[in-house]
Amino acid sequence: MDIFLQQLINGLVLGSIYALIALGYTMVYGILELINFAHGEVTMMGAMICIAVMGALLSAGGLPAIVVLALGLAAAISICMVLGYSIERVAYRPLRGAPRLAPLITAIGMSIVLQNTAMLIWGKQYLTFPKLFEPQRYEWAGAHVTSLQILIVVLAITLMGALLLLVHRTRLGRAMRATAQSPELAGLMGINPNTVISFTFIIGAALGAVAGVMVSAYYGLAHYYMGFLLGLKAFTAAVLGGIGNVAGAMLGGMLLGIIESLGAGYIGPLTGGFLGSHYQDVFAFFVLIVMLVFRPSGLLGERVGERA
């Protein structure tokens, strides 16, 4: 089996998911210069809600698998949108204009609240993603691809394309970019910054929910604590691409997924088996540290050294 090609494929799948989550971080940062650390937890909530809804529908029976999946996904997206909106209203809006440390602390508090809420609802054990379809396996140049992997990548790329269209071709997107550049000036255009900020959180949360469902479908599991590491990696992806930059988050996510997969694939052979693929997570944070030291503005970032 060709390890390079295989890991590249795995990396693309993982990278698509990171990219979707990273968009939530980067869009909010672009407008508010705030790291919404609760975003990983929104992703987790998406996964948990989807599994819970699908479980309920399956035990009720009578619905075809595709409908069950669609309803689970729709529930996850809509509840997460409400969640994203509420997080901003409750945890960040009252602190608008406060020192930057204050919303950072409520962000962490918010993520603890969400984690514990999930734990209270679903317990500490892993939830398993129901097997709705028998995944097809394809072999290509010595590497394996499953239909689920293809679905994840195609769906992620479609969503990212749609987001780019929204940001660059619509009235709302123009308002978002204007507000990101100068909220004061955007106000003079008649743009209510609060509306734009709410939409930003809602869109980010919807993408995060889809990513959460993807992760849990891919690994077959979800857990109340899964949002922490996932969020941290997606944040790394956003920094890698240049935080605040939408295209950067997509690029950063994809790259991070590939770096991680290739790293995990090669670390065993390269160290003579001394370090195994469970060191996968090290790569993400190695990338984060390297970026922060050598290019804190990220690959596509523009605003260098503008703020402390």
């Binding site: 009235r171 123009r174 100068s182 955007a186 106000g187 003079l188 255009m189 008649g190 743009i191 910054p193």
Partner: protein, 245 residues
């Protein structure tokens, strides 16, 4: 003073005892202003007299500490800037204030953000390009790469895209070459001729008074003189202080 403040019934903008604090300092200490419908009025004064702060308060960017602002008969004293745009108030801020990373066309479309009449917007877009042919040539260029004069044109054109009834202009001549200043002031005159009410803040007092009907002189947060523009141009005190003798 009497003549300048007598036209109350026709007033589009009427300001009473406006006080505005800015960064802990009271920059505007209780001023009265009247701008009649279709009038071109200027507000002149030295640097730091409170002119920009006054305009920012009128545009809803700063919350007044006291006094009232009435526009078209309604009190708008505590309204936010984004609420005032759809009422017909537009500000061209000091230092242009364009969206530098967006294209010229996107800047103009943002000017029409509150409008839903697509047809009217595209007509106004054409009109803006007719008023400033330079902008038409550069419509897909990133606004931050325009020259200072072009940016000022863009800022004015963008403000007009909201079809304002009251246009507030803050230092449109600042930092521009004399030829460009002439061109910008020609445009301002043309906008006024089309019936838009204008309140112009300007350090170049002579230029401002020459195109205005009436003028106010501000000094450390207070209005010290208010009269017909021609009278102010002839006033020895104004001459000495603002018109270079």
């Amino acid at each position: 003073m009497s003549r300048a403040t007598s036209s109350n019934k026709q007033s589009l903008l009427s300001v009473r005892d406006l006080r505005v604090a800015y960064g802990g300092v009271v920059a505007v200490k209780g001023i009265d202003l009247e701008v009649g419908r279709g009038e071109l009025v200027c507000l002149i004064g030295a640097n730091g007299a409170g002119k920009t702060t006054t305009l920012k308060a009128l545009a809803g960017m700063l919350r007044p500490a006291g006094g009232t602002i009435r526009y078209d008969g309604h009190a708008i004293t505590r309204r936010r800037s984004y609420e005032l745009v759809s009422l017909g108030i537009a500000l061209v801020p000091e230092g242009r204030g364009i969206f530098g990373r967006l294209s010229v066309l996107e800047n103009l479309k943002l000017g029409a953000y509150v409008r839903r009449d697509t047809l009217g917007v595209s007509q106004d877009l054409d009109r803006g390009f007719e008023l400033f042919p330079r902008l038409a040539e550069r419509r897909s260029q990133i606004a931050g790469t325009l020259s200072g004069g072009e940016q000022q044109m863009l800022a004015i054109a963008r403000a007009l895209m909201s079809r304002p009834r009251l246009l507030l202009l803050d230092e449109p001549s600042m930092g521009l070459a004399p030829i460009m200043v002439q061109r910008i002031f020609g445009t301002i005159r043309r906008i006024a001729a089309e019936g838009v009410t204008l309140l112009l803040v300007e350090q170049n007092a002579r230029l401002a008074l020459e195109i205005s009907r009436r003028g106010y002189v501000m000094e450390s947060g207070r209005v010290t003189l208010a009269d017909e523009a021609a009278a102010l141009l002839a006033n020895p005190d104004v001459k000495r202080a603002y018109l270079g003798g």
